[in-house]
């Protein structure tokens, strides 16, 4: 098949180590000029580049994938060993899978769709992406949206701090008017506290055996430092307690928590124990209205999410496949449009001329209503006559059969290409496409 096609050349976390990825990754002005450069290359009609920390992919509508390959090899010679290349439907499928987060490191993560959208926005801003890539990307976004709403691929927590957020949400809803207590200076603790602060907590309290490190930590998470000796009282003040100290034994014993619950009048208390060995006595977690979780509990949630996403990914793949096929069919159907519009335009011109001729002869004997019905009759004949052929041509084209369009063109003597710009801006890609009526009739 001659003519232009979609080609993809790229590398990702699956094919290339970070050292290579970072050498070819681009953003901002560098990306803009790279797009210009691509667009200027021989045979490249349209182009866009997805560049994230996990992947760099160049999509071109061109005659071959050579320009896209050169994009990589000119930047890092060793990149050539890590490239994958796809063409036609394969390339379309790849983009749809990427946008739907099926190719991501963490399958189902949310960011990649935004990154692809950004990449498309940039490419169309510098006019590297035209109507073909615009249709392609919009279809990819629609596919990603379908995958997100029709499957549970985005559900569940994929990291410890996400698990903490989800748990706290199920206990308290949001944290408006509540306080988080961070006890101990473990790294995971600070991360979780920051994630939880996003739920609208009023304040973050920090306590640590060494007040020096505690103060530094309080500064880091924008909280207030309190002395370690105040811990029993802090358990009454805070609703979520994140414990991650290096202590070799339980820091929060059952009795301390029991006393705190009494003082709290049984208001729910959530204890998140990120320390190994554990800092919270399991017996404390069994007290009424206390909700305690340790590292194992949270790991289990993360694992369950990955398992669930694996099975959801299968359903997502089916959606992607359906969308890829639909996109390919639409493209074929578009190829039949010039013949159809030509045919209809010609028929309508004949009908109008004939109606005028008739009216010129007998129009004097007719009132306004009579003239109208002569014109309507001519139009109705055109519509009825063309209805069947129109439907069949569209059908043949969408099932990939271009021969019928060619035959129709020949039969009705439609040889010349349709005048440019009369197809609501969609004429350009149709012309660029190999299956113009004349090309089809040569098959």
């Amino acid at each position: 098949m001659s003519g232009r096609e979609l080609f993809l050349v790229g590398l990702s976390h699956k094919s290339a180590p970070i050292e290579v990825r970072e050498r070819v990754a681009l953003s901002g002005d560098a990306l803009r000029s790279a797009l210009h450069e691509l667009r200027q290359m021989d045979g490249v009609q349209e182009a866009f580049v997805v560049s994230t920390c996990n992947r760099v992919e160049v999509y071109v509508q061109a005659e071959a994938d050579e320009p896209a390959r050169r994009f990589f090899t000119s930047r890092a010679s060793e990149a050539g060993d890590h490239l994958y290349a796809k063409g036609g439907v394969e390339a379309v499928r790849h983009l749809f899978r990427v946008a739907s987060s099926l190719d991501s490191m963490v399958v189902g993560e949310q960011q990649v769709l935004g990154q692809v959208k950004e990449a498309y926005g940039l490419a169309s801003a510098v006019q590297a992406a035209g109507s073909y890539i615009s249709r392609l990307c919009n279809r990819a976004f629609a596919t990603a949206k379908r995958v997100r709403t029709e499957t549970d691929i985005g559900r569940g927590a994929t990291s410890m701090s996400q698990v903490a957020v989800e748990l706290v949400q199920k206990i308290f809803g949001d944290l408006g008017g509540r306080a988080i207590l961070l006890a101990g200076a473990g790294k995971m603790g600070a991360l979780s506290a920051k994630a939880l602060a996003g739920l609208g907590a009023d304040r973050i309290l920090v306590t640590n055996r060494s007040s020096e490190r505690g103060l530094a930590l309080a500064h880091q998470v924008k909280g207030t430092f309190r002395e370690w000796e105040e811990l029993p009282r802090l358990l009454v003040e805070a609703d979520v307690v994140i414990v991650s100290t290096g202590a070799p034994s339980y820091v929060l014993g059952r009795d301390m928590v029991h006393a705190a619950m009494k003082a709290r009048r049984q208001r729910s208390l959530c204890l998140i124990d990120l320390a190994v060995p554990r800092n919270v006595d399991p017996a404390a977690g069994r007290l009424p209205d206390v909700f305690a979780y340790d590292v194992d509990d949270m790991e289990r949630v993360v694992e369950a999410t990955h398992e669930a996403r694996k099975s959801e990914a299968l359903r997502a793949e089916a959606i992607v496949e359906a969308e890829v096929m639909a996109f390919a069919r639409e493209r074929e159907a578009r190829a039949a449009l010039p013949v159809l519009s030509q045919l209809r335009r010609r028929a309508e011109a004949i009908a109008r001329a004939e109606a005028e001729r008739t009216l010129a002869q007998v129009g004097g004997k007719l009132d306004e209503k009579g003239k109208k019905s002569v014109e309507a009759m001519a139009q109705a004949i055109v519509n009825k006559l063309l209805h069947g052929p129109t439907a069949r041509l569209k059908e043949a084209a969408s099932s990939g059969d271009g021969a019928l369009a060619g035959a129709a063109a020949e039969l009705f003597g439609i040889e010349e290409a349709p005048p440019a710009g009369n197809e609501r801006g969609e004429a350009a890609p149709a012309e660029a496409h190999p299956r113009t009526p004349t090309a089809a009739s040569n098959e």
Binding site: I171, R265, Y293, V301
Partner: protein, 284 residues
Amino acid sequence: MSVHILRIAAALYAGAAAAYIVYFARPRHGGAATAGFWLLAAAFAVNAVAFGVGCAEYGGLEFFSLRGGLVLLVWLASGAYLVLQRFYKVPTLGAFITPFTLVVLLPTLFGDPTHPEMAPAALRHPTLTLHVVTAVLGVALFGIAFGSAVMYLLQEREVKGKRFGALFSRLPSLDALDRMVQRLVRAGFVVYTVALVAGTITATAVWKSAWSWDPQQIVSLVVWFLYGAMVQLRHSGWHGRRYALLTLVGFVLVLGSMLSLKAVPGFTRHSGDYGLGPPAGGAQ
């Protein structure tokens, strides 16, 4: 005639229940919850028409039978849920309330509805309607509080037991459920208080005595004290699991007493001849 309209309403109630259950099973289909809401709203409206026609047919005293009382309970509970959904957005609660109302409604659709248990004319007093409607609305609100408390306990079991399954993701947060229970108990208590006051006024006028150790009166007072205590306990800081359990106990008592009192003929003056002696005409 009214029973036919009521059957239409019942079909709509069933549709609403089905939609809410579908929503609960497949939370991704938010449209199911919307459909449930509007079906329930339609059922509520059609049920109101059935009441109007029923009042015209039976002289406005349909509610004195157990049958009428149950329909009124379903109607008011549905109305209360519609209001809750409108303001607090708790579509999962719908999956708990609507099937329950359907179960209550079903027995009323069968049997012979053309001869409802009529209340004697001597009982007619301006405060009687208020008494009946507020008493039933109070019970409806306690019923929804019961549903929310069940949801609380289910969710508590999930969260505390570290079972992060289907229920965990579908049910609202514990805090939201806890506050919902509290709101409903408080509102139910206020409405129930109005019912007791209106009942006392009616009793004074009709039975010539405000308090006659009638079993229904005793039970109502116990219920009133119980829910009053719950409102008070909340102020002194009762939360969570204990409070949800108390709500369950309260409603079981309400439902049990209501049904058992109606089941034993002549036990309470709130049924049969309403403590007014055999009717002169000998109807019934």
